[in-house]
Symmetry: D2
Subunit: 332 residues, 4 copies
């Protein structure tokens, strides 16, 4: 099994845990690293014994690069994904592939033409707990599905510079819940309705919201609610509940440690994992392993064009429902 | 402290746990009992040493009766409440007081005129766990409230005869969640939206639904979702979640016993309490104690006319939102 | 089914919850009540409409008394049990029946001679959680049993007057754990070893200890440990763990309410139930129901002479092991 | 911060997770790897770009090696530790350093003479959950300590070849519990008593036991129990309980995933982590990071000669107590 040479673009929030996974994964070798912060990139290059690229496109086309991992700011994804695909390189990219559905289509079509895998990083799919619930739901363990609830509460609040170019909470956060809910439902919703509000003045000031409630109606009567918030005091909160005629499946939060304190004041466990790098450590690693398998042709890309487009369309419908104050059918 | 003589009307689901509380509460004495099933009423009268009334109105006006507990079928509440109030007797009644808001108003106005307490049995308010969360939320323990979720899943499914005269799931079940959510919010919602569906053919056949998702928007940006289902395989499921800037309050379910089984198959606890008589045993008792205190003038009725009317109006708006497919402002 | 007339002796810690059960149990009627505190007994007699006996023996032999419940101070049990049995009355007595094993034997022999049931109140046996674990263990759910751990931590600390006449922590507290452990093992241990110490000066001052660790070895290699403490800050702590080749059974504590608080400080549940009257409310009631069934001849006494004697002998061996600093074989 | 060159001896159970940590830790570089299985060592050498040593002592003294990690079979530890120390190389070694206390002393004395750090791998000390409890106990969060319970149940059962040279369950397993208990107590016990038995015929056949209960008495009246078993059906079970006048600290097990299944059969979570490599992943990494800090002189070795000797002596006393059937004072 030969080593796959990787170009890693972006060393920010997402880039740094991809870096950690790449350091420890046998079968992958970091060849090129790029970040606009040259000093940071230089340091990483030195520590890992790889090359620092002067610009992202150069990294993508460099010799020895077999595949590309894209973790740059949201609005640069589309161009870099296309550049990598055009160079015939398989791509693992943070979502979204673009701000309009046509951009998503364009990427997947180009991947198809080039015959190379394109994996969009809906990391929750690779989390062992979410994956177990998804599998159990599809295996019929809880009978006929009737209701789903997904909740995502962020911690800590991302910086306002990130928020500003994040495409809004519906596309930046809720899309992960929508992807999971639609995946469990194996369908797009027929109707979506959303309420939203802002409690964090900086976020309200840039026209975004930070508190969202979404209701969904799927074919056959399956209903769902999603609630998303940008700031959870007790740690990163990522829960799921799937209710059916036979019972309920849930994903719980993981406390930061396994220590318990019992006193007159009560029985206290630590707050949830601080944030996504620790909560999804295993998921990010599994995602990267999946990507390597896709590059080697040992596995088909598990997150399809249709699914990525569906999640985008439902997020779009939810946001428009909130803006227009009425239920909408997503354009899938 | 003299004993309060009680007339208990109805010995069905609700009546039987009121009976159990009455047996063990010092300060109350059962004087009259009525149920259309004369044999059942006779048996209870014999066991408790009280009198079996031949009809409900006779029980209400009998000598020695200081207060009336009404647990008869839904559609009879209104008439019996009025009859008892007109006889100058304090009333504890299962909800609803009537099917139209005017009927609720009429009861409370009559109670005011007669100067006697009228307590509507929203028993969740008296449950130690719900009460603790309500109190902590109002005390500001979790900072500014941003999101509430309430879930009620029934077990077992009530008989179709009950369903038929229950006024529908919005007024029969969801109204408890709506009461709690509005109580925590200390407000009526500005807008309500609901999806609903039926998975139980018998329930669909009588025009009712058994699976409901409600979204609410309150003044100031507080949002809420409620989900209700008639049939929960793992036991009676009654949970609450109140999220604010400082953290989250929750009410969990209680497992049937404290036994745990750990094996290769996993770590298993028993399902939730089977149903409301065990889950709310302490709440029903506390409700009755509160009622006795109201009768003695030691305490004001904690569930006000305005609150009962508000819960009714929001349930009505939720049902109409579902029927009409659009968000509605409740008529409060 | 005719009502059973009950004489209740003692209205202290144990007597008061027997009183509460008796008020609500159909099938039993309180006829006589006795307590050295005449005013308290008078008040109870008035509230329940029964007769206050001037002395305990008079209560036992009074007309209308079909059975006797003994909840008086420890050192009076033996005499009162014998008096009731001699009067041909079935007895439910708090443990111990006496301070020496011969006294236990004497009581059971007298009960056998009189042909009336004698039930010793090891209430943990009637608790639904402990009973479920006991049943599962005997049903072989966890395969071959290898290790048992029982823990009992009291809250609040009983008054020093109680402690002084309690026969010591081994016979007063640990005997409940020993009864349960031997019952699960279906055997007496071959060897017992104990360490103990005192952290509460008042208890140490009367020659008792308040912190105990016991190790037991049963035939076939099953081992057990028991730890007992008089003062648990986080509430009454009563847990059990049964480990076998197929897994583990546990009894957990019950939090005071189902409310959860999640904040930056962690995820907090309330402390355990304050003490035995709430923790064992259902157990005490089930125990009394069992006793009524025994009185009616519908059920054999489930706690046998041999079992009561065994628990006493093992408690005795544990205490002596601690005093002598060496492992001992209990005299069973 | 220059990279520390590491020689890793042994690629078995312990060696493989040290390898995983070493791959991902910035600041360390694997230089030499040795295992009696030359093919395995060759493969690792190739994957990590390091040199395969032909024998262990050669690895230790090779150029570029700044520090040595020893994860070879138990009985080889002593010789290799001494060889590495004599070569002036800091050592991280799996326990035990030897089978007799003099061997432990010899290693630490040599380390002192050479002025190089020697860290014995009691990895539980580096686990965030155990460390949090240890710290809270010493900070007085639970007041005066009165009782400790530690439980370790293995899964899966190690192979009989491992068992045969493991020095017995007291020194191989219970020593971790004893280390933690004594560390919390900040003392050696005055007396130790143990029962033990065997339920796994292969283990009994080689003269070892697989089921152990130990009781300990510390100065001042603090008591402890430890129970250890070689085979836990529900996964690797590693719990701790520290009880004091102010409450209780606990370390719980971590379920394999965060998924929950609620059905008529109950509420089920997955079994505990399968075994030490996953349970202690973070601990092993933190241990290695600590070792690197010790090598760089940034931190003193946190596990002292006296502590290692104490744990050995108490394990020895526990085993002898079991063999001789009487309580013993450890030779510390």
């Amino acid at each position: 099994m030969s080593e796959i040479g990787i170009a890693l673009l972006g060393l920010g929030r997402a880039g740094s845990f991809h870096l950690a996974s790449l350091r420890s994964l046998p079968g992958a070798r970091l060849r090129q690293v790029y970040d606009p912060d040259a000093a940071k990139a230089e340091r990483v290059a030195r520590e890992t014994g790889c090359h620092r690229a002067r610009d992202a496109k150069q990294a993508v086309t460099a010799a020895g690069v077999d595949a590309v991992v894209i973790a740059t700011p949201t609005l640069t994804h589309h161009g870099l994904v296309l550049a990598a695909l055009e160079a015939g390189r398989p791509v693992l990219s943070e979502k979204p592939l673009g701000v309009r559905p046509e951009e998503i289509d364009q990427c997947f079509e180009r991947a198809r033409e080039e015959g190379v895998p394109l994996l969009v990083a809906f990391q929750r799919r690779f989390d062992p707990s979410f994956a177990a619930v998804l599998e159990a739901a599809h295996a019929g363990e809880m009978g006929q599905l009737q209701f789903i609830r997904s909740v995502s509460r962020d911690n800590p609040v991302p910086g306002i510079d990130y928020i500003r170019t994040s495409c809004g909470i519906f596309h930046d956060c809720a899309v992960h819940d929508l992807d999971m809910v639609c995946q469990i439902a194996e369908a797009a919703p027929e109707e979506v309705f959303a309420f939203a509000s802002s409690f964090i003045p900086e976020i309200g000031a840039v026209g975004d919201v930070d508190n969202v409630a979404i209701a969904l109606r799927f074919p056959g009567g399956l209903l769902a609610t999603i609630d998303v918030n940008r700031k959870s005091a007790y740690g990163y909160d990522q829960r799921l509940e799937v209710f059916g005629s036979g019972g309920m499946l849930q994903v719980e939060n993981r406390p930061r440690t396994l220590a318990v304190r019992a006193s007159e004041a009560g029985i206290a466990r630590p707050p949830a994992d601080h944030s996504f790098p620790t909560r999804y450590r295993d998921a990010y690693r599994a995602e990267l392993e999946c990507f390597l398998d896709c590059v080697r042709g040992k596995r088909a890309v598990p997150i399809t064009h249709e699914q990525v487009r569906r999640s985008h369309a439902v997020a779009e419908a939810a946001e428009r429902s909130f803006r227009e104050g009425r239920p909408l059918a997503p354009d899938v």
